[in-house]
Symmetry: C2
């Protein structure tokens, strides 16, 4: 029977000025997944290592996302194939680097490969979003899109779903500090103000425009100047102990910019080059200890390929 | 004595999703200006044709902008040269295609040429903004920037001033219908709501991101899908008689998108190719007559060069 092993990347959503629309995929940080065709029809999760997550497909983000794809496949082709899934969770749940998205994206991407690619990448985003809906109550696309497309992606519109894959400089890295406190996505959303001023909004979309222009032109200066969030970060950062000092340390260590990853509690920085990224990682690793909170630091190149097949 | 004659283009600001940040320059539609060095120091406007505008430099947008540059020149170089200006106004005041900006930009650009380019394009934007401040009370840059840089420009930030020149497809045209009613920029601004919802804002910046990505990739489909304004157009369009039907006629005639030019009353459409643009122009020329309002229709290629020197 056919089988596939894959790496599904962690992702940073809500990149500064790109709240709800802009995400990016990471190299090295991500879940490992194995999908194998089975004789009996159906969709099962046979094992999950690294996290205490439900095996029942309808309660698992990867399960629900896969189910969504397989139901669509059944409608489209008429047959009802069988697969089982093993997940090696490497991204902690609630880390703010797209743990649920990595599993959901990996499941649908792998199934699509094994089925001979009946669905487009955009359709895969739609299936993976069902997993996100289970995880957070909202079928958002800003983590699953970069996971599936690689690099930076813009969710231009949800109805209809319209994803724009953006380029990025070749030497761009991300550093993520994950303080191991829990911030639920739903809570992080409920503290946001539902209204903002027109001035805040125009500042934000000026910066988003600048960031996208910087990605197209490899203009690190413009990317750096544009990595500003005047809408969400001032509020959500209150939930993250030591955010202001952490961000300052990142910037003082040469980060192009820094902000909240997803809905937190992780904090990310972007940097030019591996050396700079590692300097930032070292600086925050020393600096954040004072808070008495367990934390992890990830340092990763921007992943422009998306999900990758692993050699057996 | 040295002299220069130049074409200073009309511009469309507030392009749909790019309220307050995105503008574009037009070919063929613009003011003609002549600047000549004089023996006696100082800055005079000796004649204006085509419009009833003040000759006193401190009451004229081109005058104030030029004065701002010449004062900076005096501080920088120490000398106090003399110039006089003749303006052939071709853009009607209050038309919504940057009449004040064209004169202000043309004056500072021409003076800078005659002085041997002591100032950068970004500095010229700053001087020209002084003219805009006189005209509308707000020193905005979204008309003067595309006039001076050409093509589409993004005003990423005002403090510090940061202008991003964007590329655009080679075959992009604009059609502008100018209903000859008066909407003062100040009035058009005062009716705007000062608050908007986070959902509106994210929709808007998703579209702005899509539009900029479309400009970088010559993706007319993406440009078209992104030319949507959910924040300003629903309010300001109430001030423009027949806006909804006019926009529909433009879209039905093949426009990529349509919206309010600047703060109105002009309405613009973007189109792929000269033929399509002329089809749109013909359709609205027929359709708009029913309103009993005098109007003009302009059809112009996007101007990627900015201000142009005219052969003597």
């Amino acid at each position: 029977m056919k089988r596939i092993s894959l790496f599904s990347p962690g992702t940073i959503a809500n990149i500064s000025c790109g709240f709800d629309v802009l995400g990016v995929a990471l190299d090295e940080v991500g879940d490992i997944m194995h999908i194998e065709e089975t004789v009996e029809p159906g969709w099962r999760i046979s094992a999950i290592t690294g996290a205490d997550l439900p095996l029942a497909v309808e309660k698992n983000t990867a399960g629900v996302a896969g189910l969504s794809l397989l139901n669509a496949y059944k409608s489209k082709v008429g047959t009802h194939p069988g697969f089982h899934l093993v997940i090696e969770k490497k991204i902690k749940a609630g880390s703010g680097i797209g743990s649920s998205a990595a599993s959901a994206s990996g499941a649908v991407w792998g199934l699509n490969e094994l089925l001979g690619r009946p669905f487009t990448p955009l359709e895969l985003v739609g299936f993976a979003m069902e997993g996100e809906k289970l995880a957070s109550g909202v079928a958002h696309a800003d983590n699953v899109a970069p996971g599936l497309f690689g690099g930076f992606t813009l969710v231009r519109s949800y109805a209809p779903l319209d994803i724009v894959a953006l380029p990025c400089p070749n030497d761009l890295y991300a550093v993520v500090l994950h303080p191991q406190i829990e911030i639920k996505t739903q809570d992080a959303r409920s503290i946001l103000k539902t209204q903002l001023s027109l001035k805040q909004a125009t500042t934000q979309w000026g910066n988003l425009g600048g960031l996208i222009a910087g990605l197209y032109t490899d203009d690190y200066g413009l990317i750096s100047r544009s990595l500003v969030d005047v809408v969400v970060e001032p509020i959500r950062s209150l939930l993250i102990p030591g955010f202001d000092e952490l961000k300052k340390t990142m910037l003082d260590s040469g980060a192009l910019g820094a902000g909240i990853s997803g809905s937190g509690p992780s904090v990310f920085a972007l940097a030019k080059g591996s050396d700079q990224a590692h300097l930032i990682a070292q600086a925050i690793d020393v600096n954040y200890r004072k808070w008495g909170i367990d934390f992890e630091v990830h340092c990763a190149k921007i992943n422009t390929q998306g999900i990758k097949i692993l050699n057996e």
